[in-house]
Every structure is written in C-alpha cells, then in structure tokens.
C-alpha cells in the first residue's frame, strides 16, 4: 500500500470522472470511462485486492467500454450537453 500512489490515483480518478461527463463526443466519453476503469484496477491492485483488480480490468475496462461504444454507434455520437 503505497500512499503517494494512492493519493495521486485518487486525484486522477476525480479528474477522469469529471472529464467523462463533460466531453460532448460520446465516443471520447466512453474511452475516458475506460481510463477510469483502469485507474480503479490499479488502485485495487495497490490495496491488495488482486482478484477484484483482475475482474475490473477485464469487465470494466474491457467489455463495458466495448458495449458502450457499440451503443453509441447505434445511436447518436454527439450529445447536446
């Protein structure tokens, strides 16, 4: 448990979450959500939860991003706000 890494990762997490909501291009928002998932995975690996980190890397940063992009492809790409 490296505390500096935890602090930096948490600050990056907040920045990524705000960015994922502010980007109007939904494809970009999906990719930033993938970054959010990867940061979570690193944070959990640092806390000793390796199984959870493995699952989040596969599910949250992998499959979840792909199905979000698939839905954006079938609907509209740009949002109004």
């Amino acid at each position: 448990m490296i505390l500096t890494f935890d602090t930096v990762a948490l600050i990056l997490l907040v920045i990524t979450a705000i960015m994922a909501l502010k980007i109007r291009d939904l494809l970009g928002a999906s990719v930033v959500l993938g970054i959010y998932g990867f940061l979570m995975c690193l944070l959990w690996a640092d806390m000793g939860a390796v199984d959870v980190a493995f699952t989040e890397a596969a599910v949250g940063a992998g499959v979840s991003t792909v199905i979000l992009i698939a839905t954006v492809y079938q609907t509209t790409r740009h949002s109004k706000d």
Partner: protein, 200 residues
C-alpha cells in the same frame, strides 16, 4: 486539516459518489446518465474494497510454504505429543489404527518416531528462529490474519462488478430501444415528443 489528511481517501470516495449522482439526475443525454451510474457504482465498490485493505499486508493467497508448512507442523506436533506423554493418554482417545500400530510393533513405532524426531531436528534447525516468535512471521506455522488483506469485501465486490456490467448492458439496450422509438436520446426531445400532458 489533520482530519482532512487522515480521511482524504474517504472524502474522495464521497466526492466520486456525488459526481455520479449529480450526473444521473441532471444530465440530459441518456448515455451520460449511464456514465454517471457507472461512476457511482465503481465509487461504492472502491469504498468497500478500501475497508478491507491493511497496512503492510499481503494479498489473500497463501503460498506453497504457508500451505504445507502448516500440515507438516501439525504432524510434528503430533509426534512431539506422542513422545511427551508416554502414549497412555493417547490410548484412550486415539483411533483404532494407532492402537493397532502400538500393540503390533512397539519397536517399529519407536524407531519410526526416532527417525521422525531426527528429521524434525534437522528440519527445525534452520527454522529455529522462526519457531521462537509466532507473531506475524511468514515462516511460522501459524497464519497471522493481520498479514493478509481481508478477503470478504473482495468476494462481495466481485459479485458487484459483474452484476454492474449486466445492469449496464440492460440499461444500454433500453437506451437503444428508446432511440429506435423516438429518434433521439436527449431527455427533453423525448419528453417533447411524448407530449406535454403525460400525468393526469
């Protein structure tokens, strides 16, 4: 200020949850609402997992040494007990095969016990220091729970992550269905198309 620095990570978890909640309520685009839902769920999972984290702890997977030194140490404890009390207390409450071994070949049992004892002496010489202190040293036979991360939040959050992605999949399918029906995924567009007087 001290309280802020000590609880910094808890404050960040609450901030993340509130970002997700704000997005779910106030964003106009349906997919942005789902992004907010994902952020909210991930923040809750982060909070739970951080409860089980321990300073200086290892991951909750026992290595080969901890798995098998334990079994070997239980055997050694048995032979030590056999040699200590002269088998009389053992007779009453041990199983039949031990009584048989004893009645049949007391000699062979003694020699095997002596072999076992020399073996334990040879085995314990390098581990002599470790048997002395049992508090938290990895090499000792006792597993110190404070040296492993708490596995229960990990188990619960594994379920939570997979259920979260299933929920996201169902929500995205509803978004697509709405788009097929109304042609747009912006909330005000959809409400305008449904009509101004929806509630009686």
């Amino acid at each position: 200020m001290d309280a802020f620095l000590e609880n910094f990570n808890y404050i960040v978890y609450v901030v993340l949850m509130m970002i997700g909640l704000y997005a779910m309520i106030s964003k106009n685009n349906l997919i942005k609402k789902l992004v907010g839902m994902t952020i909210f769920q991930s923040a809750i999972i982060l909070f739970y997992v951080s409860i089980g984290a321990k300073e200086g702890a290892a991951i909750p997977i026992l290595d080969h040494h901890q798995m098998h030194v334990a079994a070997a140490h239980d055997d050694h404890a048995d032979t030590h007990k056999d040699k200590a009390d002269t088998h009389e207390g053992e007779h009453a409450d041990t199983k039949i095969h031990k009584a048989d071994k004893h009645a049949a070949g007391a000699h062979s049992n003694h020699t095997s016990a002596e072999h076992a004892s020399t073996h334990t002496d040879k085995l314990e010489a390098p581990h002599a220091g470790e048997h002395g202190d049992h508090d938290g040293h990895h090499g000792s036979s006792e597993i110190n729970p404070a040296k492993f991360s708490n596995p229960i939040p990990h188990v619960l959050m594994l379920t939570a992550i997979v259920v979260g992605v299933s929920t996201l999949g169902v929500a995205l399918s509803i978004v697509q269905r709405v788009h097929q029906g109304y042609g747009s995924i912006e909330e005000d567009d959809i409400l305008n198309q449904i009509g101004p007087n929806t509630d009686g």
